[in-house]
């Protein structure tokens, strides 16, 4: 089991939510004070380095035009971290390649970071949440197709070493691709893909990449992992899916006592409670399949956002499996329950800072997890563990 400290480098100093319709896409940037932003960047980088000191790996991601994550060019932050950190693995999850116009440029950026960090890059790729299409002016229709063409092209950029090659695909066109530098890690850095759909997960499994899923709780995570394992097996990768191929991101706060854990957990909920986004941003045409839109029109909940659900409380979020919070024993029990239910995963992505969780409390949470929970997780779930043993057993019987 590997744990990752994930910070969205949020900017929390906002006017009351009722004064704006959306925290994403349209919130005027006059609200952002660049000097306060600079202090926040310093602080969040320090927290990543605290995580590294505690033996926890580093993870970041990319969003645009939003106060929830002021990291619109994640490779830049990763480049800084590549020089400031020394040993931690560096996970970017990820590059929104369905919204990037030049996959070859993304391959170059990632190769540079792998070299800068002496081979510590974990290269993640995401389709991108729906609110990203307007900032990128990216057509929400056929995003999956663009995503996979871009990813395959990036892998080829990293693994082709014999001079220029051409790519004339459906979405991307290049006549002479020959990137410098090439990555240190061979044949290429580990690849991660996030997905909230079962169809997507099966494709990730077929390719053997690491599948991550964010805040998908018990049922959805279980379905996604089952699809991943099915895709893996059907592609002939064997019966056994190692847990290091699967990752789960949750809001996690470990406190030394109930009171401190509770206070930290409440502040972490900012991730969910601050994510005020109207439907025209959270569900652009073509982002979800037509059949899903029919269900949404008839009252189903959009899995893309937990805003306004019962997960807006600590109890609700813990019950839903989107938050693990409490004392070390409580958190360990919560993780084990979730781990067993979904079939097992080898990467825990810790959304460990949000909103007004200050530096001291963030560091406390990182250290309490790293010292009081992480060692037991590593012992319980070594990387050689196989995911989905229960379905294997039931299939055999």
């Amino acid at each position: 089991m590997r744990a990752w400290h994930f910070s969205e480098t949020a900017y929390p100093y906002l006017p009351p939510a009722e004064t704006y319709p959306s925290i994403r896409v349209s919130l005027p940037n006059r609200i952002y004070d660049p000097l306060k932003g600079a202090a926040l960047y310093d602080r969040f980088i320090d927290e990543w380095l605290v995580a590294e000191d505690e033996g926890v790996e580093i993870m970041l991601n990319e969003h645009h035009q939003t106060a929830t994550c002021v990291d619109p060019a994640a490779p830049l932050m990763l480049a800084a971290l590549a020089r400031l950190s020394k040993t931690a693995r560096l996970l970017i999850l990820g590059n929104p390649i369905a919204n990037r116009r030049q996959p070859v440029r993304v391959a170059e950026e990632m190769a540079m970071i792998d070299v800068l960090s002496h081979g510590r890059l974990e290269a993640g790729f995401v389709r991108g949440v729906p609110y990203e299409v307007l900032p990128a002016n990216s057509n929400p229709v056929r995003m999956n197709e663009r995503h996979w063409e871009a990813l395959d092209l990036i892998v080829k950029c990293w693994t082709h070493h014999d001079g220029p090659f051409s790519h004339e695909g459906r979405f991307f066109h290049h006549r002479a691709i020959n990137i410098w530098p090439r990555p240190i890690q061979q044949p290429h850095p580990p690849i991660w893909v996030s997905s909230t759909s079962t169809g997507g997960a099966a494709q990730v499994g077929a390719r053997g990449y690491i599948q991550a899923t964010f805040l998908t709780g018990f049922e959805t995570t279980k379905r996604i992992y089952e699809s991943y394992r099915r895709g893996w097996r059907e592609a002939g990768r064997g019966q056994d899916v190692p847990i290091d191929r699967l990752a789960y991101a949750a809001l996690i706060y470990v406190g030394e006592n109930d009171a401190r854990a509770r206070a930290g957990a409440e502040k972490l909920l900012w991730y969910i409670t601050a994510n005020k986004v109207p439907p025209h941003f959270s569900n652009p045409p073509g982002y979800v399949p037509v059949a899903m839109n029919v269900q949404l029109a008839k009252g189903a909940h959009n899995v893309v956002s937990a805003y306004g659900t019962k997960q807006s409380t600590v109890e609700g979020a813990i019950e839903a499996g989107t938050m693990f919070a409490g004392t070390p024993d409580q958190v360990l029990a919560q993780i084990r329950k979730h781990w067993n239910y979904v079939g097992g995963y080898g990467n825990l992505l810790i959304m460990g800072q949000a909103g007004f969780l200050d530096h001291e409390d963030t560091v406390h949470g990182i250290r309490m997890f790293a010292r009081e929970v992480y060692p037991q997780l590593k012992e319980l779930y070594p990387d050689t563990t196989i995911s989905g043993m229960t379905e294997q057993l039931s299939a055999a019987s």
Binding site: V25, S26, L134, N137, N139, P140, V141, R142, E145, R170, P278, P279, H280, F281, P284, P285, G286, V290, A291, N293, V294, A297, K298
Partner: protein
Amino acid sequence: MQMVTRPDMAVVKLSGIDLELFDSGQDTQPQSPILFLHGGGGFHPQQPFVAPLSTRRRLVVPSHPGFGRSSLPDWLDSVDDIAYLYLELMDILQFDRIDLIGCSIGGWVAAEMATKAPERFRRLVMVGPVGIKVGPSDRLDIPDIFAMPQAEVDKLLYHDPERMKPDPAKMSDDELAAMFRARETVALLTWEPWMHNPKLKHRLHRIKAPTLFIRGDSDGLVSQTYLEAYASLLPDARTVTITAAGHVPQLERPAAFAAEVMQFFGE
């Protein structure tokens, strides 16, 4: 807006596409047929302009690829693609020279067709058409319907939104699916450049057919300024306004709409 169960429309195979086609079938008259190209909301044979337009003329209405029951192949992603498809449809239907009506995005398709084959169109009607960019670069000519609440979109679309807007609660699953699919196809076709082909305005002078530009006076998507700029790029065009109508005068004021069109067609 009342939705009615879709009666049988033929499906023809064209360039590998299953194209749903309404054909009023009255081809006994000497006049040329009318080809009607619907807007982003899609077409239904029960729509109120169908009867007045097809009483004395043969009226043919395809559902664009990605609308209704028409398929949407992977390779199709532009209005230009649809324009070529319909020129081929005219060949198959042996339509030598016709009257063409295009509404909104269908107007854009019509303009593309008429610039490609000017000789094949006798008269052209453009209803709240999109397809060109005439305003400054820092202001959208057509408001971004995908960046505002649906209630705001309805206000731009209709003179009387309360009467006209669709009510999802009263729609069947099939009707809901068609609505969401139409929306998705509009996004596919219009996302970038937004609602226009930068080349089109440099080709419009090729259109030979006398052209009538129609706009509902409450149209919040296509402004009067935009309409007049569009018309000024065609050699022989004039504009007319329909009162108490928004972006879809053919649905909101069908009688007034049909009267303008049929008068222009010389009926």
